[in-house]
């Protein structure tokens, strides 16, 4: 990873103002957003938005043409181009033709995208940002750090310094006072400006209207006071019908700032008279800049469903640590990574795509229903396709893809690691787990992997049903006791467990690094190994593995166009179930009974990303643990990522570590002596963290806790 990039990450993580402001905001945001949506069916609303935006994305040409006709019929001039340079030239030409000296702007990402301000300023035109946040950024000579709150990284003291310089008077850092100063300063600019430049939140093809939303009221002034108005609109803002604005106006303010509606909405259809009776000179620029190309890409088309609410940033555990600047100059966060890869170039996303830990938080709240983590994975895949894998990774994967060699090395590691092991932890692990103990101890490789221990387990004879156990690398080689617990539970419910020996890595590490070919080979090996058994269920106690078996094998084959492999992958997916869901079912059916009347004390539960957001399992383990006799005490942000993310914690320890610290803090705050979770990866991360922290909190997999309480 680029040295410069690593440095910017480190700078951001160590910037207490930034992480403090973002952290506080993101905590409040989650609560307020829910409140704003109270009484509304969010799923229905976002399905409607996704549908209408997706329709627009597949009819961009038609809608752009319609928009042009309708807006021009009303007297506006519409200019459509693919080329950012042409946009800049067009705006400058209009300015020159009219002797424009000063311009006021309301917030527009599209103008940032084409770096309009420096271009106009170089041509001798004074450009004033009027959105308070944008103005602060402009005075500071910076770029926005958040799509909706551009200056969220700055303190009131910094703002007061900037304003003091601007008005040449020492100002206090009283916020209402600072806002008054801004009002006074910008008022003069509004009244004097020859031209107003705005963006557009929505462009309606049917009527030729553009819709602008602001809270400050600056867009109303920008579009009302100067005699010339230019609206720069990315063509993804097009919708077919006037009625389509309703769902977008309903969702955007709630998702963006948890408001029911922004203070002001302007729907502008053609030029209207100025105060001196002349007609406004109105131009609308429909900018493509690769959006059409994006629309014809079957994977990335959905990114055009974005309504730029930035809620994906607000809920992202990475964004709230590093803020926007790490992502680059224009679009930030998860969706920003995707937009940068397209509107700038794929290469530019090389570093930032690695910031995504694939926790899925953003996908849950996106009002455009965009699968952001999936698209980031696709960027990874294409980067690997274009540039190949780094040599080290290549070597690792060639090992992982050779099951015997891989398992052999893991076995060897269990012996090599032994001298350094203390109390179940070691300081160094060979292979790709090398080199990271920062804030977390790593587990020792088990002396006897599960595959060997399994052979020694005596299962009762004549059990009516059969299940294949898919262990995954962590349970097999680091936590075999979890596998033993699972066998015990299933046996009690009358299920015999088989362990297909040829099972190997689920391919997640390769896939999450964009090495889809490697992941596909892993998938093929596993499908053959597991479907070779006559079983009713395929059960796993690792959500990442379960997701691989249930979804990702299929998805990987689809991405690579290996359609002939899909039927077997689907057959496997159908039988696959995560352990909590299966055990809950067995308990409900009365096939498995937990000891009664146990008083086991308080417990808190950590939701693993894949379990909660891909497999949609969160109640089952909680109910089981309570049934077993534990008293559940929920922690704050129980479903936020623990920072593990497979090899993420190895690649970006400076981000992973503070996320883990946050998780540990929330666990400890509950006062519960035990924290349960359903993922061996999370156990590794959190147990390692607790070990270094020294806190007396037991970190356990649900399967072990339940196995202790079965009758």
């Amino acid at each position: 990873m680029e040295h410069e990039f690593r440095q910017s990450v480190r700078r951001a993580v160590n910037n207490a103002n930034l992480t403090g402001a973002l952290g506080k905001f993101s905590e409040a945001y989650r609560v307020n957003r829910l409140k704003a949506y109270e009484g509304l069916d969010f799923e229905a609303l976002r399905s409607r938005i996704a549908e209408l935006k997706s329709y627009a994305a597949s009819h961009l040409d038609l809608l752009a043409e319609l928009f042009k006709q309708n807006a021009e019929a009303k007297g506006a001039t519409v200019f459509r181009t693919n080329d950012p340079a042409k946009v800049r030239e067009y705006i400058l030409q209009v300015a020159r033709d009219n002797g424009v000296k000063t311009v006021v702007k309301s917030k527009s990402m599209a103008t940032e995208e084409i770096h309009l301000n420096p271009y106009l300023e170089e041509a001798g035109i004074e450009v004033g940002e009027t959105d308070l946040g944008e103005w602060i950024i402009q005075l500071a000579g910076q770029t926005p750090s958040h799509m909706v709150m551009p200056a969220i990284h700055m303190t009131k003291e910094e703002v007061s310094d900037l304003f003091s310089k601007e008005v040449d008077e020492r100002l206090s850092s009283d916020i209402p006072q600072l806002v008054k100063v801004a009002r006074g300063q910008l008022r003069g600019k509004f009244l004097a400006a020859d031209m107003g430049i705005s963006g557009g939140n929505i462009a309606v093809a049917e009527t030729g209207s553009i819709v602008l939303m602001t809270n400050e009221g600056n867009a109303r002034l920008v579009t009302s006071l100067p005699k010339i108005h230019i609206a720069l609109v990315g063509i993804e803002k097009l919708v077919a019908n006037f009625a389509d604005i309703v769902p977008i106006l309903t969702a955007l303010p709630k998702s963006a700032t948890a408001q029911l509606l922004t203070s002001y909405v302007s729907i502008i259809t053609g030029p209207t008279p100025n105060s001196d009776g002349s007609l406004k000179d109105m131009h609308i620029i429909l900018m493509d800049n690769r959006r059409s190309e994006m629309a014809s890409d079957p994977k990335f088309r959905q990114a055009l469903q974005c309504i730029r609410c930035a809620s994906c940033l607000n809920v992202c555990p990475i964004f709230r640590l590093v803020g926007g600047h790490v992502f680059g100059k224009v679009y930030t966060g998860g969706i920003g990574t995707i937009l940068t890869a397209w509107f700038d170039e794929l290469k530019k996303s090389e570093d930032i795509q690695g910031l995504c830990i694939q926790c899925g938080n953003c996908k849950e709240v996106c009002p455009g229903k965009i699968d952001i983590p999936e698209l980031i994975m696709e960027i990874r895949r294409r980067l690997v396709q274009e540039q190949g894998l780094p040599l080290l990774q290549k070597t690792i994967y060639s090992v992982v893809n050779n099951r015997r060699l891989f398992h052999g090395m893991l076995r060897a590691a269990s012996i090599a690691g032994k001298p350094m092991a203390s109390g179940g932890f070691i300081r160094h692990l060979p292979l790709f787990l090398a080199d990271l103990t920062d804030g977390r101890s790593l587990p020792a490789i088990a002396a006897e992997p599960f595959r060997d221990r399994f052979r020694k387990i005596k299962q009762p004879a004549g059990l009516p049903e059969k299940a294949a156990f898919y262990a995954g690398c962590l349970i097999d080689f680091a936590y075999p006791e979890m596998g033993v617990a699972l066998v015990k539970l299933l046996n009690r419910a009358g299920i015999e467990v088989v362990f297909p020996d040829a099972q190997t890595c689920c391919g997640a590490p390769a896939r999450y690094n964009g090495a889809y070919e490697v992941a596909a080979q892993n998938a093929v090996d596993n499908i053959e190994a597991i479907l070779g058994e006559e079983v009713k269920y395929v059960v796993s106690a690792c959500p990442t593995c379960t997701v691989a078996l249930q979804h990702e094998f299929i998805n990987t084959f689809e991405s690579l166009g290996q359609t002939d492999r899909l039927p077997r992958a689907r057959a496997l997916a159908e039988k696959t179930v995560d352990f909590s869901t299966l055990v809950k079912r067995l308990v409900d059916e009365g096939r498995l009974t937990l000891k009664e009347g146990q008083k086991l004390g308080a417990i808190t539960y950590h939701d693993s990303c894949h379990l909660k957001r891909t497999l949609r399992v969160s109640e089952q383990p909680r109910e089981l643990l309570q049934k077993a006799g534990y008293t559940l005490t929920e922690m704050f942000e129980c479903d936020n990522c623990c920072g593990m993310g497979g090899s993420y914690s190895l690649k970006l320890p400076e981000i992973s570590a503070p996320i883990l610290q946050r998780k540990l803090k929330h666990i400890k705050e509950t006062g519960a002596p035990t924290v349960a979770m359903d993922c061996p990866g999370c156990v590794m991360q959190i147990r390692g963290g607790m070990d270094q922290d020294g806190a007396k909190v037991e970190v356990r997999h649900t399967v072990e806790l339940l196995a202790e309480q079965v009758k």
Partner: protein
């Protein structure tokens, strides 16, 4: 869903508008509503000096009041210009609709005067017919036609920002006070 009556719509509208710091008043007749506004101006110390007067943009209600009487009110002007608006303390206008579920005002503001009085002064007073409060934006769609209205404005509370340290601050570029006057018995104006 049962359709809400005027009373319920008004109650929801009032609650939501107040929730975003608007002030909501209600009067049975036009004359009472106008009297309230004149009293309001007096209380605010309206005067003809810059940053002291009120500007009332054209509209059915303004056009119906007795202009001879209005011209005797201190600090009230009935003719709007950009220059006057820039120095006005209060802007008065009449809007066509309210939206109950968001506490929003909706106006056909194709005439720039309407926008000037509602965006430049520190206080904006808006009359709205109580029976034109619609349930939500969906209901509004059947009433507004962008082909006939070049500039439609929705206003929800006063101007606000949270751009400095996320602290909500009222009154940036637009008004810092939004005073809504609902009038029950507004004369029909051929809409």
């Amino acid at each position: 869903m049962t359709t809400m009556g005027t009373e319920q719509l008004f109650e929801q509208f009032k609650a939501r508008a107040e929730g975003v710091s608007a002030e909501v008043h209600r009067y049975a007749s036009e004359s009472e509503a106008v009297a309230f506004v004149l009293r309001f101006l007096q209380d605010e110390g309206a005067a003809d000096a810059p940053q002291g007067y009120a500007l009332w943009a054209g509209g059915p209600l303004r056009d119906r009041i007795d202009h001879d009487v209005a011209s005797t009110v201190a600090g009230l002007k009935l003719a709007v210009s950009r220059e006057l608006a820039a120095d006005a303390r209060v802007g008065i206008s009449q809007v066509e609709w309210g939206l109950a579920n968001t506490g929003t005002l909706v106006q056909d503001s194709t005439a720039v005067d309407q926008r000037l009085v509602s965006s430049l002064p520190a206080i904006h007073i808006a009359f709205v017919p109580t029976d034109s409060i619609l349930p939500d934006m969906g209901a509004l769609l059947t009433k507004v036609d962008p082909q006939k209205m070049g500039y439609i404005t929705m206003i929800t509370g006063p101007s606000r920002t949270a751009d400095i340290e996320r602290v909500l601050t009222i009154g940036v570029h637009g008004p810092e006070r939004l005073v809504i006057v609902c009038v029950d018995d507004m004369e029909p104006d051929g809409r």
